[in-house]
Each structure stands twice: as structure tokens, then as C-alpha cells.
């Protein structure tokens, strides 16, 4: 595919490839949602930071390389192709950092960005509540003013909080004005996970790890310096992260292209002859290729000053369904061996774990049903309502 990469961009990709080849751990790390695995992944983030590969698109003063979007996509391609570990720092780097860049103070940026890149501060997200999942504006956890100490007291409960079991800090929305309606009166807070009054209760997941947790807040004090954006403006501030989580920044095509390549290797290794499975392998490759090309189109759009907007929802449904299709096809090829876990001999032992992760894709980052509503209403212009949702 001739994408007219410059010599510098080719050189950048080659440099990343060489560094990864030298530094990627030879054996897969244990899951980052285990005590031992979390430490190992934190260490890997430090290694990445030493090579200045943690966040290539960030300014150099914060540990980045001031690289462009094209370089970022190239780096991600190299990263996934190399089989490097999953990024335990992702909540911070992909979700919180874009907000800090846009809405944070200089002091907040100085305090938080660099430690995000080297694994010294790992972040948990705290969006959902028992009564606020897809309907995030239904948040009931509160923030009460504490003028004496110059800050806020957080109370309530958060759930499905990813990385929360071992993370250092968390970020999320709390209702600071109980009289205000739904989207109004919310404030975006940053808080330490070991704060007095904060209890973390791990939730075991169906894959056996504790990838998320419940958080119980009882008058957890947060100083004004850890309010992100203006008090009461939390919804608007947070939506820029939702856009990021649903859009380009979380899901570079590299991950799917690498999985499609591994799927082809799996087919070739196994000398399959099932024509249905063969078509499924071809389909997975076609869709990964579509996603790769689409992303380059998005990059072109962004570089020409456009934005992603509701297109991010099209993106999210597609990659989450593609991810499941890729992994289901792999399990089909593995046959009865597909149920074996942690067995290095079985297609490097990753397919089953990755499959279990893939089936969560249509749920997190905004369910695919919500995404389809967004596509229908904002891209196609169909009328709102008609399904019990309150029209705001």
C-alpha cells in the first residue's frame, strides 16, 4: 500500500522495530491483572520509557517524542507485531492524558504526565456505578465542598473500575451539585487509591483475573488541585475521554493486523482443510485490512483539520466485532485444544486469553447498542427517543 511515507517515517518505524526486537520479553508476562503480572507490566512501562517509546506522540518535555499521528500508528503496528506486552498504563495514557492536555493546568500536567509514561503512576478509571453503566449521566456518587481544607469530600460507589486493584491513582466523575440535572453538576476528580475512606473490593472476572473492582468512597478528601477542569463542567470534560476511548487512540489497527497474521500462521501450521474455517480466516484478514486502511483515512482526515466525532462509534462497533471474529476463528482452528489455558504448546497459549478479553469488547467503552444509537441519530440523522430513553 503506497501511503507515501517519508524517509523519516520509514526510519522511525525501523528504529521502533529494532528497539522492540531487542527489548520485548522473550516469554509472555503473566496477566497484568494478577499481583505478579502487574509488577512485571509496570516494569515493562519503565523499560519503554527508557527507550522513549511510551507515548511517542506526546511532547518531549513529558517523555514523548513529539511525533505525529502517522508515526503513532506506525509505532503501534510495530508494537503489536513484536508481540510486546499489553499496556498497563493505558488508562492513564489513552484516557486521562488527552484530558490533561486539553483541560488540565500546567501544574497538573507537570505532576502527572511524565509518571504516566514510566510506570511510576498507574491509573484506574472510575466511571460506572451500580446504577449508571451505559447511562453514565445517572451517576449518584457525590462530591461535597470542604472549604476549610480547600477541597472536596467524595462519597458513594463506583464499579467495573479497571486496574483498580493495584493502581496508584484513579479518575472519575462525581455529582458536585445535587440540584442540577443529569449531565450538569458533575465534576472530574483525580484521587489516590490509598486515600483514607476509600475501600477497593476486587471483582473476579470470568477469565479468573481481577481486572476490575468496586470502589467505596466515605468522605474521601480531594484537594482543589486535583479537580480536572472547572467544578460542574465534568461531563463536557469527560466526554473528550469517551471520544478517545471509543475512537482512534485505544485501538490502533496494529493489534488486529498482528492477530490476523497470527491467525494465518495458525492455519498454515495446522494444515487445515475445512473450507468454512478457511473462509473465516480470509474474512478476518479482509476486515483487519479494512480497519487498517480506514485508520489511515482517519489519520488523513485529522491531518486535514477534520475530527472524528460520531464516526468513532462506527469504528468501535467494527473493531470490537472484528476482534471477536478473529479469536473465534482461532478457537475454531484449535478444535478441542481451544479450551486449554496457559498451555504454551497451543498456539503460544494466547488465543484463549485474548478470546476471553475480546468478548468484553462490545460492552466496555460504551456498549455497541449505545454506539448504534449514536450512529443512527448523529450520523444518519434519525429521530431520538422511541425506546424509553429520556430526550435531553
Amino acid at each position: 500500500m503506497n501511503l507515501d511515507l517519508t524517509d523519516e517515517q520509514h526510519a522511525f518505524a525501523a528504529e521502533a522495530r529494532a528497539w522492540l526486537a531487542e527489548h520485548v520479553p522473550p516469554a509472555p508476562l503473566p496477566s497484568m491483572d494478577t499481583a505478579e503480572g502487574f509488577i512485571a507490566h509496570r516494569k515493562w512501562e519503565a523499560t519503554l520509557a527508557e527507550g522513549r517509546w511510551s507515548a511517542v506522540a506526546w511532547p518531549e518535555e513529558f517523555g514523548g517524542r513529539s511525533a505525529g499521528l502517522v508515526e503513532w500508528v506506525l509505532f503501534e503496528e510495530e508494537y503489536y507485531r513484536s508481540g510486546a506486552p499489553t499496556r498497563v498504563a493505558q488508562n492513564g495514557i489513552s484516557l486521562l492524558a488527552p484530558i490533561l492536555f486539553e483541560h488540565g493546568t500546567d501544574e497538573q500536567r507537570a505532576r502527572y504526565l511524565k509518571p504516566m509514561t514510566d510506570g511510576s503512576l498507574i491509573w484506574a478509571q472510575a466511571w460506572s456505578e451500580p446504577g449508571a453503566g451505559s447511562d453514565l449521566a445517572a451517576i449518584r456518587s457525590t462530591a461535597r465542598r470542604d472549604d476549610e481544607r480547600g477541597g472536596w469530600l467524595l462519597s458513594g460507589q463506583k464499579t467495573w473500575s479497571s486496574r483498580a486493584v493495584w493502581a496508584d491513582r484513579g479518575f472519575g466523575l462525581f455529582r458536585s451539585d445535587p440540584a442540577a440535572d443529569r449531565h450538569r453538576g458533575l465534576t472530574y476528580f483525580l484521587f489516590p487509591m490509598d486515600a483514607p475512606g476509600l475501600t477497593v473490593r476486587p471483582i473476579a472476572q470470568l477469565d479468573g483475573s481481577t481486572g476490575f473492582a468496586e470502589l467505596f468512597f466515605e468522605d474521601v478528601f480531594v484537594p482543589d488541585a486535583d479537580v480536572l477542569g472547572a467544578p460542574g463542567d465534568g461531563w463536557r470534560v469527560a466526554m473528550s475521554t469517551a471520544g478517545n476511548e471509543r475512537g482512534l487512540s485505544l485501538r490502533a489497527p496494529g493489534r488486529f493486523c498482528a492477530a490476523a497474521d497470527r491467525l494465518i500462521d495458525l492455519w498454515n501450521d495446522q494444515q487445515h482443510e475445512d473450507p468454512f474455517a478457511r473462509d473465516a480466516v480470509v474474512d478476518a484478514w479482509i476486515k483487519a485490512e479494512a480497519y487498517r486502511l480506514y485508520t489511515w483515512g482517519t489519520v488523513s482526515t485529522l491531518q486535514n483539520g477534520g475530527d472524528i466525532g460520531a464516526e468513532g462509534s462506527v469504528n468501535k462497533v467494527f473493531w470490537s466485532e472484528l476482534d471477536i471474529a478473529l479469536h473465534e476463528t482461532a478457537l475454531t482452528l484449535l478444535g478441542p485444544a481451544a479450551e486449554l489455558r496457559g498451555t504454551p504448546g497451543v498456539a503460544d497459549g494466547r488465543w484463549v486469553d485474548d478470546y476471553l478479553f475480546s468478548i468484553a469488547g462490545p460492552i466496555y467503552a460504551g456498549t455497541n447498542e449505545i454506539q448504534r444509537n449514536i450512529i443512527a441519530e448523529r450520523l444518519l440523522g434519525l429521530p431520538r427517543g422511541g425506546d424509553g430513553r429520556r430526550v435531553s
Binding site: Y294, V317, R372
Partner: protein, 334 residues
Amino acid sequence: MKFVLTEEQQALAEAVDEIIESAGGTKAARTWAAGDPASGQALWAQLADLGLLGLCVPEADGGMGGTAVDLVVAFERLGYHAVPGPYIESGALLPDLVGADVRRGIVDGSIIATAAVPGLVPYALDAAASSHHFLVDAESISSATSGPGIASIDRTRTLHELTAAGESAALDPAVVALALDRATLACSAVLLGAGERLLAEAVSYAKIREQFGRAIGEYQGLKHQLADVRIALTFARPLVTGAALNLGDPDSARSISAAKIAAGEAANLAARVALQVHGAIGYTEEHDLGLWITRVRALMGVWGTPRHHYDRIASLLLSPGTSPAPSPVVSPTR
């Protein structure tokens, strides 16, 4: 990055739209289906004047000297408006295979040419409305005579068996392969355009049709189906554009096949959902929707069936011995 259309390409698409809309939109398709080719041929002449039949022909030979991207931009509009006639054959397949005189005639619109490619396109489209008929195989091209018309699922398409007659010219197999891929690409673009139109028709109908006191577009059951069509078309498009960008490169064949599969699937989904959204009115002859529904189904089977293209990708992507090679274009028997 060449993934954003240039101003010239956008202008080309708009010019094609304007010409077709001025000529009455789907009127040409309807009269053509009724056996009166006059308005379809008049439209052909206008689009030839715009350069549509010589987009990829060098300027020295009277063409536009454009790229395969220009081709897909223009042909998508043909699909969007359900324009009838052998545009893929004349404008994408034949220019590189015929002699200089015929090529000049195709480019200036004085010749409407159609073709059959045994193994891939068994019947020639609209031979009765065409002045020239060609039989193309892997390494030669011959003039041909056409048999009687055979009806198609798409009422705007009449199909004909061809019999070689007169002179035959040897061709470089690589040139034939490239021309076939270009035609397949053009077909993918037509499918994409038809799919976009089906979605647009369904969305506008869902906004105005009311049942149980509200627009049917308010119901999630329809919303989510329409969203799925949007997703399928959105991700078929970069495959078509990408295949156009690397037409003729070493990886070209698998890109073309991916584009044809994805455009066909997306357009077929659009057809099914658009019909469902319209209900019975969309099933009537009087309604235009059937023009695109049947066009999509017809085009899915020509220029390589999904099976052909799946096999082709598998043979290029998966290790040999695990997959049958795709059915080839029939070679001449000597």
C-alpha cells in the same frame, strides 16, 4: 497520504451526479428496462463527453490520463443512480485490450462496447444496445456475434451469449489480468454506490413513515439495522479506495478481491435492510428501490463471485496445499 479525495475528484463526482440528475435520474434505467435505449444512450454520450469512458486512458490517446482512484470515484456515482449499460466493460475492461481505433471510439462515446469473459463474466451485458462485442480470455480478444437476449434478475440488464467471429488478437496475459482487475474494481465501486443509495433511501423513508404515532426511524430495531449498514459501507470503502491506489502493485490481486467481497456484502446488507425499512412499498415495481436491490444481486455474481475471490485471497495468503486455487479465467483450447 492519499486517502482524502482531491478537489478534482470531488468535482468529477459532482459533475457525474449533475449530468445524471439533469437527465432524469433513474429515468434512463426505467426506459432501458422497457426496451427503449434512447435516453440511456443519450446519457452515455454526455458521460463520454465528460471523459468517463476514458478515465484511465492516456491523454495522448484521447483519454483523461487519470488513475484508478478517479475510476472508482466516477463509477460509484453510476451505482448510486442505477445507470444502465455496459460502462464497466467499455470504460474499465476494454480500453487496454482493443485496438487503437476502437479505443478512440470508446473514449469519445461513438462506440458502446460490451464483452464476455468465460469463467468470470459468462454473458455479455446489453449486446443489443452495443455496437461492438468482444470475447476475452486469458491471452486473447476476439470480435464476437451475440445470441438472443436473456433476462436478468435486474430488469435493466439483458444478457447475451457471444460466439467468436472474425479476427482474434493475442494479448499479454499480464495486461488481461490487469484489465480484469480494473473492471472488478469498477464493479466494486458501482456496488458501493448502490449500497450508499439504498441506505440513503432507507434513512429518508424511516424519517417520514409513521406507525403507532411516531416515525419508524425512532425504533431501535430499525435504527440498529441501519447503523449496521452504515458500518459495513464505511469499512468497505477504504478497501475499494486502497485497491484503487495499489492497482498493478504486487499485492494488487488480493486487494481487489477484498474490495469486491466487502463491497458486495455491504451493498447486499443495504439492499436487505432498505427493503425491510420500506416494507411492501419497496417491493413494488413502481418504486425505484428494486432497481438497486436487483442491481446489487446481479453484480455480486459477475467479475468474480465471492467464492472466486475468497479462493483467490486464500491462494495468495495461506500456505500452498491447503486451499484450492481459484477457478481461472478460461484459457483458449488449442
